[in-house]
């Protein structure tokens, strides 16, 4: 690998090599948010959960909402990137990495929310010592940790050739890091073959794991007998919502990275348009599932269900409920139906709206049910205190900081995959297209194709 081959994609190394003032400003702002979160958590750890707005009967609030939300965002990544890889969508090349990074980083933050929520974080290890597998919380722990490890490996494997590029091109203090992480990658035919196979296996494996993750997150609610939680639709509803918010988060990340690092040549309007169509499909799917969920509740018209139902529609939760409808349905629908012009701006705005809307959706699931107990309990409105706001801000700050650091250390757009697209992809697509046609040749055996690809790269 010489400098000549890197030539066209040298821009992709710029975020790593050059550190501007913007970087320090961003890190400082994020650091302040994280400091706020840390002070909030210390206060809570010291005095107890009483410093939050939680009470009886609303014993779950922001933290559980954030947990469901962040774990949902994690579906951006690996799931989208795995599906695009498996379906051989060539336009995936510049976006898979940034999607995978979201997954890994946000899973850490999401799982952390449960830790924050615990009254006795010091006893966390009881989950392993006395773990009770009948509890949906244990299913979460299992599924999320499996997803975390799978998606970390899935992020790391396609990163190896790029780390080798960094090792060969960059000197300085980081060289040692890259040398270790590159694991002796030289880009031989044999190495490439093993890598491609490993990526393909993981891409297949990670999809069922990702689906299981948000299914069992929904089971935390649907396995109880509480009104508007105990619903058979919750598994698929949560998974669809997770993919929905995940795509939105990915588009936002793409928009920001494109703007800051001037990757207009790599992240083109077409990428935003394709993802925008995907987001539109998920908007409609989300609406369909929400509609089905509430309409069945309404027609069943059980008094307990209806209490929660009306508290969302016209009661104290109406601002959150209707803001959710606007953010998740109205705004994306208006913006995404026509994407011929201004695709980037429109999809990014729609995505920001969806991210907000999906957070509200999680809130609307967690809190109204708890606020309307079956027995005439004294009801109290849940108002988060600065502790919850601080920890939420800190969580977002930490997530973005992780992301920023990753971008500083590794290429956020996969260099070798872009190159592969240029050198192998174009030819491969043409050949593949020919095999679809009636007068085309028989499809090549996959084995030979991988072989060819490996040869072409060396």
């Amino acid at each position: 690998m010489s400098d000549a081959t890197l030539g066209r994609d040298a821009a992709l190394l710029v975020p790593i090599v050059k550190t501007g003032r913007g970087f320090y400003v961003t890190v400082t702002i994020l650091g302040l948010l994280i400091a706020w979160g840390a002070v909030a958590y210390w206060t809570q750890f010291d005095q107890g959960l009483g410093v939050t707005g939680l009470h009886q009967p609303v014993s779950w609030g922001f933290y559980v909402t954030n947990f469901v939300f962040f774990i949902g965002i994690s579906h951006a990544g690996t799931l989208i990137s795995a599906i695009l890889r498996l379906t051989k969508a060539e336009w995936r090349r510049p976006i898979t990495r940034m999607a995978e990074v979201i997954t890994v980083m946000v899973l850490l933050i999401g799982a952390g929310q449960i830790l924050i929520d615990l009254g006795r974080p010091d006893r966390l290890m009881n989950i392993f010592r006395y773990g009770r597998y009948q509890s949906p919380l244990l299913w979460d722990a299992t599924s999320i940790s499996a997803y975390f490890f799978a998606s970390t490996v899935y992020l790391y494997l396609p990163l190896i050739p790029d780390i080798a590029i960094l090792r060969d091109h960059l000197g300085g203090k980081r060289r040692f890091l890259y040398s270790v992480l590159a694991m002796g990658w030289t880009g031989t035919e044999h190495q490439q073959k093993i890598l491609n196979r490993a990526i393909a296996i993981l891409a297949v494996m990670v999809i069922p794991i990702a689906v299981s993750v948000h299914t069992v997150v929904s089971f935390v609610f649907s396995m109880t007998i509480q009104p508007m939680w105990h619903s058979t639709i919750f598994g698929p509803y949560f998974v669809a919502g997770a993919i929905f918010s995940g795509i939105a988060a990915l588009i936002v990340a793409m928009g920001i990275i494109r703007r800051i690092y001037h990757f207009e040549a790599y992240l083109k309007p077409i990428h935003f348009r394709y993802l925008g169509y995907l987001l539109l499909v998920m908007t409609l799917l989300w609406f369909y599932l929400t509609f089905a969920e509430y309409l069945t509740g309404y027609y069943g018209s059980e008094p307990e269900e209806m209490k929660v139902f009306w508290s969302k529609f016209t009661g104290p939760f109406w601002p959150f409920f209707w803001a959710m409808v606007v953010c998740n349905l109205v705004i994306p629908l208006i913006l995404l139906v026509r994407l011929r012009h201004h695709a980037v701006g429109k999809t990014v705005v729609a995505s920001i709206s969806v991210v907000i809307g999906m957070w509200l959706e999680r809130f609307n699931i967690v809190v109204p049910t708890l606020s309307n107990p079956r027995l005439p309990f004294p009801e109290g409105q849940y108002w988060p205190t600065w502790i919850e706001w601080g920890e939420t801000a800190g969580s977002f700050g930490l997530f973005i900081l992780f992301y920023v650091i990753f971008v500083k250390l590794f290429p956020i757009i996969s260099i070798w995959e872009i190159r592969e697209g240029r050198e192998v992809g174009v030819k491969e697509v043409e050949e593949r297209l020919l095999t679809y046609l009636p007068d085309g040749a028989e499809p090549e055996r996959a084995h030979d194709r991988a072989h060819d690809r490996a040869r072409a790269l060396t």
Partner: protein, 205 residues
């Protein structure tokens, strides 16, 4: 009050109470209508099929062989899943350190630290004591050896306590009364606390 004194249930203070943090193992629900006011004292109903124990990740809450839904304060991690799952809101959380060193606490009941869930145990410690006493006197445990503090203290004897599995006991007879109902019977939680309405005509759940 008997319950609070017996079980070292902390007074959380006016400020915390105003924020909805009261801990009251026997919570009295009040139903007011034009013709009358009804009180529904609501301890943990000690379900035979409890929704709360099903969701506990660490076996901190479980239905013990005697049918009491127990809570292990030393193991509870404070995830509050059981509180979210209980349809009767019979579980309470120690949002802050409510339990301060104070004289006059019952030494038979452990005090709860911050961050754990607590609940009515039907004065389980009394059962343990009664059983020990019976063993010391070399006899079987008989009805009346053990009564929770609430049943003992109720001046109008509105709370009857006994062995439901003994067909001939007073409580079993009362439970068969047409006036008897259970809270949220349709939920299938099989509560062991049974209420009696004034007359059959008042019966509604």
């Amino acid at each position: 009050m008997a319950c609070k004194a017996e079980n070292n249930v902390p007074a959380v203070g006016a400020r915390e109470a105003a924020r909805g943090r009261t801990i009251s193992w026997m919570h009295v629900l009040v139903e007011e209508s034009e013709e009358r006011t009804r009180f529904l004292p609501c301890p943990c109903l000690q379900c035979d099929d409890p929704p709360c124990t099903k969701v506990c990740p660490v076996y901190a809450t479980y239905r013990n062989p005697e049918g009491i839904v127990a809570q292990v304060y030393a193991r509870c991690i404070g995830c509050r899943f059981c509180m979210a799952a209980c349809p009767y809101n019979a579980k309470y959380f120690n949002w802050l350190t409510y339990q301060k060193d104070a004289p006059g606490q019952n030494p038979d009941v452990s005090v709860r630290p911050k961050g754990v869930v607590e609940k009515c145990t039907f004065c389980h410690h009394r059962l343990q004591k009664a059983r020990e006493r019976a063993r010391a006197e070399r006899r079987e445990l008989v009805a009346g050896d053990y009564v929770p503090a609430c049943a003992e203290a109720c001046p109008t004897r509105a709370i009857a306590f006994g062995d439901l599995s003994d067909e001939s006991s007073d409580v079993a007879r009362l439970a068969r009364s047409p006036r008897a109902f259970r809270l949220g019977e349709a939920l299938g939680t099989k509560p062991k606390v049974i209420y009696l309405v004034e007359t059959e005509a008042h019966r509604r759940v």
